[in-house]
Subunit: 140 residues, 2 copies
DNA sequence: TTAATTACTTGCAAATCGAAAGTAATAATC
DNA sequence: GATTATTACTTTCGATTTGCAAGTAATTAA
């Protein structure tokens, strides 16, 4: 369904063939850090993604097994999107993006939100906490 | 010169407003890990970037102070591009992309290159080594 | 049973991508 | 010194992607 093509055999470039665009990691971030799980949840986030882009990205992520899509037994309308372990394992990438922003972006973007303070005192602890927490709340 | 616009105030989304595309981090990777520094160096890399894209991305990176552009005193033709400290500080992001690939991409892309083995035994040591090395060879 | 909500799809104009060709300056070779 | 090659671009143009707006279809709530 997804036609994944890789530019070359470099691991870093190949990761960017899957994740390297304006929206894919933002959606993963919204799931991991903001607990968003429905189409509406994503639409309502500050980033302001358009419906058509969201739709194609969710299919892309599902096709790559970074997220799953399912319906709850008591509701035939709402789709629930959840990170898989493969999706969850991108947490360190997301955290490093936040650290880079904290260090380098504040002069360019003065009203940037504060990151979780733990990011500078116990990065690995924060990553572990986020992943454990997500599993607990979403993958019972 | 660059018109940087941010979607919102989230540090992660803002980092992706600058770095979140198919080429920007690839160029930084080529500088950091493959020691590429001229227009021709980048063109010859396996990723196969087109000249117009490379040209706009180098200007974009220069405008963001992630790289500098200068000429050597003995050659008026060749431009030398170098990572700034701000550019160098994206090293952990690049390393995490490599780790994610190693763990998740090999079934999708069987001939993926091996990463430096140190990436799994001493990640922080590798990051420090790469940055120190780059400084030594390019910013003395 | 009518209205609202959710999760989409479609249409379209604008922006961006990327292959190819062209250009301008400098450096190397004959 | 003239020709050729190299480097670093720019331009053109068709194809693709983006993103706004509007529409649709199924389900749920009032």
């Amino acid at each position: 369904m997804n036609d994944v093509t890789f530019r070359c055999d470099c691991p870093i470039s190949s990761a960017l063939d899957l994740l390297g665009d304006k929206w894919t990691l933002v959606i993963i971030k919204q799931m991991l850090l903001e607990n968003r799980k429905t189409f509406k949840d994503f639409l309502e986030a500050d980033e302001g993604i358009a419906t058509n882009i969201l739709s194609t990205r969710l299919k892309w992520l599902e096709g790559l097994d970074l997220i799953t899509k399912e319906k709850l037994p008591d509701n035939k309308k709402v789709n629930i999107y959840r990170l898989t372990e493969k999706g969850l394992s991108s947490t360190p990438i997301i955290i490093e993006l936040a650290i880079w922003s904290d260090k380098n972006l504040r002069q360019l973007h003065p009203i940037l939100q504060e990151s979780n303070a733990m990011i500078h005192t116990d990065k690995q602890g924060l990553i572990d906490h986020l992943i454990t927490n997500y599993r607990k709340q979403n993958l019972e």
